[in-house]
Symmetry: C2
Subunit: 214 residues, 2 copies
């Protein structure tokens, strides 16, 4: 087997698999994957994050340590407006202490203090807090797993439309957030140029775009 | 200020900001964001993850606890082939213990044992290990931050082209991974239908798509 001069692949590409509905649904089936949890302890905990350390037995019989970061669910919201018929997106810019950088992001938040909250209400609340925007419609577009190889965290993606501006209500820890309503064209340029580097924001946009909603 | 009946926004959308190059570059400026680190300790550690607990002083003078999950850099690779002129994507399906689900993902991996490794080599190695594919070209498309609000982790996005199939070399912990080469059309359907829920994979695709590379 050799790579062809024209750069097209050979063996790898001889067969294209067509995944059938049953195969696609694999992810939704109740399943322990053949893993056994032999022991489990919370090794560290603060109000937002728990570090769990499990001893597991893999399907091949091999035992090992698995560290799991437990975090609550979160919401991320794409606020879609328009000016003169041109679509706009409202971004926030904030300093992110763990990476020591200011980042361009869609509004987002976790509801660590209200674990039983309704995601729709949390999304509307986060949008209002961080941007002051009130949305006529919050459309739940889908769910995403942030780092399923080591974390339990799941996010809900929302599209916010029918926007009205009210005052922002930033929490004390969010005082350095600035808000920017830009054209969708510039948003896509910032994505292309890797100026937006927030994985959550990019994935949320991609999911909304895949539905033809933006 | 009221929302209009037609759902179009009013006040929020009166002004569109045009971000200038200097503003866009904010993220690249060396900056501590006005945060002070008063103390720092490693509260938990395993070979892949450190849990750091800092006491910080925010720009507004308020002190607080900040838990930071330290993880090494990772790579994610979109293997783009073609059959009969139709583009294909090679996905993997694997059980993710932290979320108790099988997931559809692009090949990815972290180089916890080689912190000084070259991302290009790690990407080629991960692709080969998980899929058996050897790429004529690995294009570095950009970087992403996985969860910058609580984690240091940064990922590198690669596009792999000119693919040749060799044998997969799965690690002992990866034995339950299956490999699937599907059409780009089906990949996009899986994204649209929220069958693909891996944020890393979705964001990587979006970045590559934004460049017109797929």
């Amino acid at each position: 087997m050799t790579a062809r001069e024209d750069g097209r692949s050979t063996e790898a590409m001889r067969s294209v698999e067509q995944l059938d509905p049953a195969t696609l649904r694999q992810a939704d089936m109740s399943d322990d994957g053949g893993y056994l949890t032999l022991s489990s302890r919370i090794a560290y905990e603060n109000p937002w994050t728990k570090m769990r350390e499990d001893i597991i037995r893999r399907p091949n019989g091999q035992d090992g340590l698995y560290g799991v970061v437990e975090r609550g669910e979160f919401v991320v919201i794409l606020p879609l407006g328009q000016v003169d018929g041109e679509p706009t997106v409202t971004l926030i810019n904030q300093f992110r202490y763990p990476v020591g950088r200011r980042m361009w992001e869609l509004p987002m938040g976790m509801w660590e203090t209200r674990p039983d909250a309704n995601p729709d209400e949390v999304a509307a609340g986060e949008l209002r807090e961080e941007t002051g925007l009130i949305a006529d419609r919050m459309t739940h577009v889908g769910v995403l797993y942030q780092g399923a190889g080591y974390s339990t965290q799941r996010g809900h993606v929302y599209l916010a439309t029918g926007l009205t501006q009210g005052p922002a209500e930033l929490e004390a820890t969010e005082q350095d957030i600035t808000r920017h309503t830009i054209s969708l064209v510039q948003f896509e340029e910032m994505l292309r140029d890797n100026v937006i580097t927030c994985m959550v924001s990019i994935a949320a946009f991609a999911l909304i775009r895949s539905r033809g909603l933006v």
